[in-house]
Symmetry: C2
Subunit: 335 residues, 2 copies
DNA sequence: GCAGCTTGCACAATCGATTGTTCATAATTA
DNA sequence: TAATTATGAACAATCGATTGTGCAAGCTGC
C-alpha cells in the first residue's frame, strides 16, 4: 500500500549495523576478497532478501563505467524475420549476462539516429544495427562515444557486418522458380521482380542473383519487369495493379522481395473474390509460416537467423572492429 | 580510430573555462533560471556539439531519481498481436518522452520474474506486463520497490489491467462461425474449440463466450470437443491428429484460440498434400494477414491494439493504481 | 560614496554503488 | 614479552549530472 521506496545498501548497512562498502561487497560477491566474515555476510544477505533489495544498476554502472547493456535497432517487429532476430538476440544477450534493449525504428532514418542517441545516453556497451537505412551514420555517432557497432542484415562500411548471402539466395530461389515452371511444363520466360528499394544493398544483390539465374537458362531478364516499389503492402498491390493494366498478361513466375510485399500481392490477387495469380509460381525472399501455407506454388527463402546471430555474437564477444562482411547462406523451403 | 572516450560536462567545462554546474544547466535547459548569459550558453552548446557530447543518463537518473524508462514484458514477438503491441508501445512511450524497454519472456514464468527484476535494477518508472503467466507476482515484486505495474492482455488482481473483451469477442466469433455454417446450409452442431490453456483467464472467458453462443442457438457444447492443448503449433497439430483418430469425423466448424494454434492446425490439415479441413469453417481468436488469406472460410478476431494501448497509457499517465480491469472490444474480420 | 539590488556564475553536496586505503584488534612468531 | 602478521571491517574518493547556496562584480538610487 505505502509507496515503498527502493532500499539501498545503506538501508541494509544500518539494519545490519555495518557499513555501505561491506554490504556492497557482500552483495556483489567480492566479499571473500575483502575478508568479510561468513557470519556477517549471511546476516547482510538475509536482510537484503527481507527488504527485497535490488541493485541500482544506474549507480553501479556509473561507478564501474560499465552498463552491461547491449542495444539493438530493428526496423519492425511485425514480420517473422525481424521478430525472431529480436527474440533470439535477447536470449543470446541474456546468456552472456548482458541486458538487451531492442527498439524498433520503422525504417525511419531520423528515428534510427534518435534511437541510437538514446541508447548512447543509456550507456550501451555495444549497438547492433539491423536493417538500418544508414548504418554508417550510426557507426560514426557511436564511435565518437567509443561504442562499438555491428551491422546485421545490411552491410556498412564502418563496422563489422553479418548479412544473408543475398546473391546466392536469390540465385537459388530464382532457379527454383524456373524449375517449378519447367515442372508445370511452362515455356521459360523472364520473371517479375517485385518489392524492395533499388538503392538498398540487399535488393541490389538479390537482383544480381535474379539476373544471373536468368542468364543461366539463357533468358534475358526484362527491365520493365523489375518493380522495386519499396516495402509496404499497399505499394506492391498498387504496383501490380498498374502493371496488370499496362501489360496484357502477368508472367507466370514472380520473385517477391519480402513478406510485406507478398502480403500486398496476395491481397491484390484475391481482391473481389478473384484469383488473379492462380497458377503463378511465386518465390519470396523471406519466410512466414502462414504465407508458406497459402499455396503449393510458393517457395520461400528463410534467412538463417540463429546462424547469423551466432556469428554476430562471435564478433561482439571478441569485440571485433575489423570491418568485414560475413555472409550467411539462407535456407530455401521447401527443399 | 582511437577509442574516443565519452565526453562529460567537465570536459566541456574545461574547454569553455567554466564550471560543470553551468554546463549542466545549459545543456538541460535550466540555464535561464540560473541567469547564465546567452553568450556563455551559446559557447557551451557549440563545444558540446563539437565534442559530440551525449548526456549520461545513468548519472542524470541517479541524481534526479528518475530514469525516464518505461518497461514492457511480452511473451513473444513473433505474432502480429504481440509485435504490434511492442511496436505501438514504443512509439507511444517515445511520444511521452519516455525510453521504452521491451523484453520478451517466452511464456516462461521464471524468465518473467528475472526480466522484471532486471528492469527494476535499471530503474524503470513503471512496468507493463503483457500476457504474463503470473502478473500478480510481478506486481508484488515491483510494489516492494515502489514501481507501478500495469497488466495488458491478461488481468491481474494487484494492478490496473487492460484486456480484450474475450467473452464478447468469442461470443461474436462463435456466432459468426455458426452463421457461416448456416449459409453453407449445414445443420448446426457443436463446434470444436482448440488451443489455449484451460487455466488462463482469456481462455476461460473465451470458452464462456463459445458456450454462450452455443446456448443461443440451443446447441449443447460438447465437453470432448474442447481441446485446450496450450500454445504451440506442434501441440495443436498432435491434438487434432489424436482427435481425428478417436472421432470418425471432425466437426465442420472450429474455434481456434490463437494464430499459433491455427498454424499447427493448418499444417496438420495440409500434411502430405491433403486438405483435411476442406470446407471446415474456422474462426480464430487472433489475427494474421496471411492467415486471413488462407481461405474464405477463416474468420479472425483482431484485438484492438491501438485502443488498448491508448487506454493503457491513460492509466500510466495519470499514475493510476486503482485496481480495475478495462475491457476493449476486439474487431471481427471480415465484417 | 555607500547601502542594496541584480546579474552571472562557481562551489559543494548529493544520488547509490564500488574500490583503494587505513586501522583497530586478534593471532602468531621470534 | 615485544614485534610481526593476519583478520575483519570502516573510511573516503569516485563515477557524471543536478541543484541549493554563496559570492563577487556591476548597477541603481539617495
Amino acid at each position: 500500500m505505502q509507496p515503498t521506496k527502493k532500499s539501498t545498501i545503506y538501508d541494509i548497512a544500518n539494519l545490519a549495523g555495518t557499513s555501505g562498502s561491506t554490504v556492497s561487497a557482500v552483495l556483489n560477491g567480492t566479499w571473500k576478497k575483502r575478508r568479510i566474515s561468513v557470519k556477517l555476510a549471511d546476516r547482510i544477505s538475509k536482510i537484503a532478501d527481507e527488504l527485497g533489495y535490488t541493485l541500482n544498476m544506474q549507480a553501479s554502472a556509473l561507478r564501474r563505467e560499465k552498463s552491461g547493456i547491449i542495444g539493438m535497432i530493428v526496423p519492425m517487429y511485425d514480420n517473422r524475420y525481424f521478430s525472431s532476430i529480436a527474440q533470439d538476440f535477447e536470449q543470446m544477450a541474456r546468456q552472456r549476462g548482458l541486458f538487451p534493449i531492442v527498439t524498433c525504428t520503422r525504417r525511419d532514418p531520423k528515428l534510427e539516429m534518435e534511437a541510437a542517441r538514446a541508447m548512447l545516453s543509456y550507456q550501451v556497451e555495444s549497438l547492433v544495427c539491423t536493417g538500418a537505412t544508414d548504418p554508417d551514420c550510426i557507426s560514426d555517432l557511436c564511435r565518437a562515444s567509443g561504442v562499438k557497432t555491428f551491422n546485421l542484415d545490411l552491410p556498412g562500411q564502418k563496422a563489422p557486418s553479418v548479412i544473408s548471402n543475398n546473391f546466392e539466395g536469390a540465385f537459388a530461389l530464382t532457379r527454383s522458380i524456373f524449375k517449378q515452371c519447367r515442372e508445370a511444363e511452362l515455356e521459360l520466360f523472364p520473371l517479375l521482380f517485385v518489392g524492395g528499394r533499388a538503392g538498398d544493398h540487399n535488393t541490389r544483390e538479390r537482383l544480381r542473383g535474379f539476373i544471373a539465374a536468368h542468364e543461366e537458362v539463357a533468358i534475358q531478364a526484362k527491365h520493365e519487369y523489375i518493380l522495386t516499389c519499396g516495402y509496404g503492402a499497399e505499394k506492391s498491390a498498387d504496383t501490380l495493379q498498374l502493371f496488370s493494366e499496362t501489360n496484357k498478361n502477368i508472367p507466370s513466375g514472380m520473385f517477391v522481395n519480402s513478406t510485406i510485399t507478398l502480403e500486398g500481392i496476395m491481397r491484390w490477387s484475391n481482391k473481389d473474390g478473384k484469383h488473379r495469380l492462380k497458377g503463378v509460381k511465386l518465390g519470396c525472399f523471406d519466410w512466414d509460416p502462414f504465407a508458406e501455407l497459402l499455396s503449393e506454388h510458393i517457395l520461400m527463402v528463410r534467412q538463417d537467423v540463429p546462424e547469423m546471430l551466432t556469428r554476430l555474437f562471435e564478433l561482439i564477444d571478441r569485440k571485433s572492429s575489423k570491418i568485414e562482411t560475413i555472409e550467411i547462406m539462407p535456407i530455401i523451403s521447401p527443399r
